[in-house]
């Protein structure tokens, strides 16, 4: 063993020691939480809720940094380039698993390899609603109507590649129907058009649609989760109502740039697990129509990969990527 290599090894060992020490004290300064969407959206609501609770547990401020653009790609790319010290975290959602099929990410980041999964946070299903004046009273009737006049039933979505679009495209694929896709800039305007009857069908996020369903302005035909929602116990799942295997669920989680020290991951996982089940968070999630989602680190990574594979098929079959 030469002196040089001995020196190098010593230095390396010392460095490793210091990072371990640093990780044990983590966090020693404020943590930045990048939310790749503008304030007010579901990512923002979930992210801020967790951030405020996590700040208290960690004893350090968590600074929320909204970096929107290109369906979340801008903020995600920024996070992928941040130092892997645990002081930059990223809130991801279903968009993370869909963006690789919508955008050219070459040379920017890899949705799986560029990040270390920390923890899953929550999930919330979509709901299939129609204008109350529309002839379909259940999923079967909707499929029959759509088959009778292909490309005629107006289906409003929040925009190309949105969760609302994905849920509808999955339905088209699995039920073998073809709607007239009418994209809007955001879920609000799309919902107004369905309530007004200019369009008939929408695959909306459950939480944003519940008030309209309960006041009878929209009729719910099915929820997109694997189980019925406690908010709408009488509404069947889309799977049991006629499209077996249908599941469209938005999910949220936290990741860090790849290579973040395991000690940091463990600390964060421990605190997030506590925060997720705190009564105040559970209460907020319930009101938002979201369920707590807890997975091991490995399961979360596998879930992200399976979501990517699932939506790749839908995106490619529906031709939603523009050239």
């Amino acid at each position: 063993m030469t002196i040089r290599s001995l020196l190098l090894k010593t230095v390396a060992a010392l460095l490793a020691l210091t990072t371990v020490a640093a990780a044990q004290q983590y966090p020693t300064k404020p943590v930045r939480l990048i939310i790749p969407f503008p304030p007010g959206g579901s990512n923002d609501v979930v992210g801020r809720l967790i951030a405020s609770q996590l700040s208290e547990r960690l004893g350090r401020q968590i600074i929320v940094d909204n970096r929107s653009g290109a369906g979340g790609v801008v903020g995600t790319e920024l996070a992928s380039q941040a130092p892997k010290d645990g002081y930059t975290l990223l809130v991801i959602s279903i968009a993370h698993a869909v963006n690789p099929w919508l955008y050219d990410l070459k040379g920017r980041y890899d949705p799986l390899k560029s990040f270390t999964p920390i923890a899953a946070l929550a999930s919330g299903p979509n709901v299939l609603v129609v204008n109350p004046g529309f002839a379909a009273n259940n999923v079967q009737e909707l499929i029959a109507l759509a088959k009778k006049s292909p490309g005629k039933v107006g289906w409003a979505s929040a925009g190309v590649g949105s969760f609302q679009h994905l849920g509808g495209a999955l339905f088209e694929l699995q039920a073998g129907v073809n709607f007239l896709h009418v994209p809007f800039k955001g879920g609000g305007p799309a919902m107004i058009d369905v309530v007004a009857g200019h369009n008939q069908v929408m695959f909306s996020s459950l939480v944003q649609t519940t008030p309209q369903i309960q006041s009878g302005k929209l009729r719910a035909l099915g929820v997109g989760g694997l189980k019925r929602s406690p908010i709408l116990p009488k509404v069947p799942t889309i799977a049991e109502a006629g499209v077996p295997g249908y599941e469209a669920t938005n999910w949220w989680g936290i990741v860090a740039p790849a290579g973040v020290p395991q000690a940091v991951v463990d600390r964060l996982r421990k605190e997030i697990a506590v925060v997720q089940t705190a009564p105040v968070v559970l209460e907020q999630f319930a009101k938002e129509g979201a369920d707590v989602l807890q997975m091991s680190q490995a399961d979360f990574a596998a879930y992200m990969a399976s979501e990517m594979a699932k939506w790749e098929k839908v995106v490619k079959a529906s031709g939603m990527k523009a050239e």
Binding site: G40, V182, I192, P211, K287
Partner: protein
């Protein structure tokens, strides 16, 4: 009388000490963020939302609403004083308000903006109380064809915005349309003019363009002048509007309020459309349209009233149907849900204290804004006596902070700088800015509605004339064209006959 009792009940709720306090906090915060460009009610409400979890639903809604309409007030202050549009809707106020300030009439401009806004806010509040639900039902009759026809009418009427060189005005409208195209196509998701820059995929922000061409462009222009800029030592006329100012303003305020209420009820119209429409209408009605752009008080009074009425009436679809007309309204709905209240038509009957308390608080909030703003006018005007070499770096700094806060990134600041240079060039070459901004606002909306109407009708253009509301707008559009063209043709004939 039911309405009377309801309003009394509403005031009894809104006048409780706690609710008054939250109303005041709301309008104060709103005014402050309104003065700053970039940071708007949307971001502020999102950030303050968690604070509202612990207070009562009524107090929470009162405060959030106060932020929203308070921002509309604050936006005009910086527009008038330093040509800096604090909010999207204040852009129109820059045109004549800043000119008034240049002539030493900042006081009357600020005062008339406050008075106009207060009047419009009062009418808007009454409208919600009296006709909220039926108006919301009418608004739902507007689909893509109706919105397109309405905007077509607006664009044709906008020809009156043209001043001086017609070719230059048209060029600037086209420039605005082109800038508005940048970003992701709504129908196909295709990228347009984004050059692979992901920051451009959501389009160029209106506030970036407006602050660039107005505020930054003006600063470059001023610094380009050789002599140290005449600080506004030019005798400041009285702080308050003269009798003549008031006489000139009451008409525009009334009409602006009407236009603002109309556009406010329709959820599919953007924020600046009401104030632009009012400006165009006043210019068309004026005996001497030449004064516009050179400090006409009507150009401040009308748009400011329109903008505040619009902001107030945007609550109608939210309160009566539980439908969000904009991002801010979606957040307010979210705030209600978090409080355990299901938004929707049943709120009026099940939670009357919330519905009527909020309505009453809006009027109180508007009153607070006037009381807050009128005494401040003297202070604001004094600000103009700060030497320009100190003032302009401050404007630049505040612009940069505000623009940065839009997306916490430097990209928007660079873009603003670019538009500053462009704005300076346009100013020097005599290209009018208002038509460009109108094209920028209307263009993308018109395209969206036209293509959606075509998509839903299967490509049949008859959809615009077979639907009654849309047909009505088309007829008016044709009438406007005839009225504008006939005199021109007659003049030409006369010339030929000579």
């Amino acid at each position: 009388m039911d309405l009377f009792n309801n309003l009394i009940f509403g005031f009894s709720v809104a006048l409780s000490l706690q609710n008054l306090f939250y109303c005041f906090v709301g309008v104060l915060v709103g005014t402050l963020i309104g003065v700053l460009p970039g940071i708007g009610p949307l971001g502020t409400i999102a950030i303050l939302l968690p604070i509202t979890y612990s207070v009562s639903p009524v107090a929470a809604m009162i405060m959030l609403a106060g932020i929203y309409y308070g921002a509309q007030y604050g936006g005009s202050t910086s527009a008038i004083l330093v040509n800096l549009p604090g909010e999207t809707s204040a852009v129109v106020t820059c045109i004549d308000g800043y000119q008034m300030a240049q002539q030493g009439r900042a006081g009357p401009a600020l005062a008339i903006a406050a008075i106009g806004s207060f009047f419009a806010g009062t009418v808007g509040t009454l409208l919600i109380a009296l006709f909220g639900p039926p108006l919301a039902d009418i608004a739902l009759k507007f689909g893509a064809p109706e919105y397109f026809a309405l905007m077509l009418m607006g664009l044709v009427a906008a020809a009156v915005l043209a001043e001086g060189d017609m070719a230059k005005s048209i060029a600037m409208v086209v420039m605005g349309l082109l800038l508005g195209i940048v970003g992701t196509d709504v129908n196909t998701g295709a990228q347009r003019f984004s050059f692979g820059i992901f920051e451009l995929t959501d389009g160029i922000g209106f506030i970036v363009v407006a602050v660039g061409v107005f505020a930054v462009g003006e600063i470059i222009n001023n610094l380009g002048d050789k002599q140290e800029r005449r600080v506004l030592s030019t005798k400041l006329s009285s702080l308050f509007p003269s009798r003549q100012d008031l006489r000139q303003s009451w008409g525009p305020i009334l009409r602006g309020t009407g236009l603002g209420c109309f556009f406010g009820v329709l959820p599919g119209t953007g924020p600046a459309i009401a104030s632009f429409s009012s400006y165009m209408l006043e210019k068309k009605l004026a005996k001497d349209p030449d004064r516009f752009g050179k400090g006409a008080i009507e150009g401040v009074a009308g748009p400011e009233a329109a903008n505040n009425a619009d902001a107030q009436c945007k609550f109608i679809p939210m309160l009566t149907l539980g439908l969000p007309a904009s991002g801010v309204m979606a957040l307010m709905l979210g705030a209600l849900t978090i409080q355990g209240i299901q938004p929707g038509p049943q709120v009026m009957t099940q939670r009357p204290e919330l519905f009527w308390g909020l309505i009453a608080s809006m009027w109180i909030g508007n009153l607070m804004l006037v009381v807050l703003n009128l005494p401040l006018i003297g202070l604001w005007v004094k600000l103009l006596q700060v030497p320009y070499r100190l003032l302009f770096p401050a404007i630049m700094a505040f612009s940069a902070i505000g623009i940065f806060s839009v997306n916490n990134s430097g990209f928007e600041i660079h873009l603003t700088a670019l538009f500053g240079v462009l704005g300076f060039m346009w100013m020097r070459l005599g290209f009018p800015l208002a038509p460009m901004l109108l094209g920028f606002v209307l263009g993308p909306l018109m395209e969206e509605y036209l293509r959606r109407a075509m998509l839903m009708s299967g490509g049949d253009p008859l959809v615009f004339v077979t639907r009654p509301i849309s047909a009505g707008f088309i007829i008016v559009t044709v009438l406007i064209l005839v009225v504008m063209i006939v005199p021109a043709v007659r003049k030409r004939r006369a010339v030929i006959a000579d």
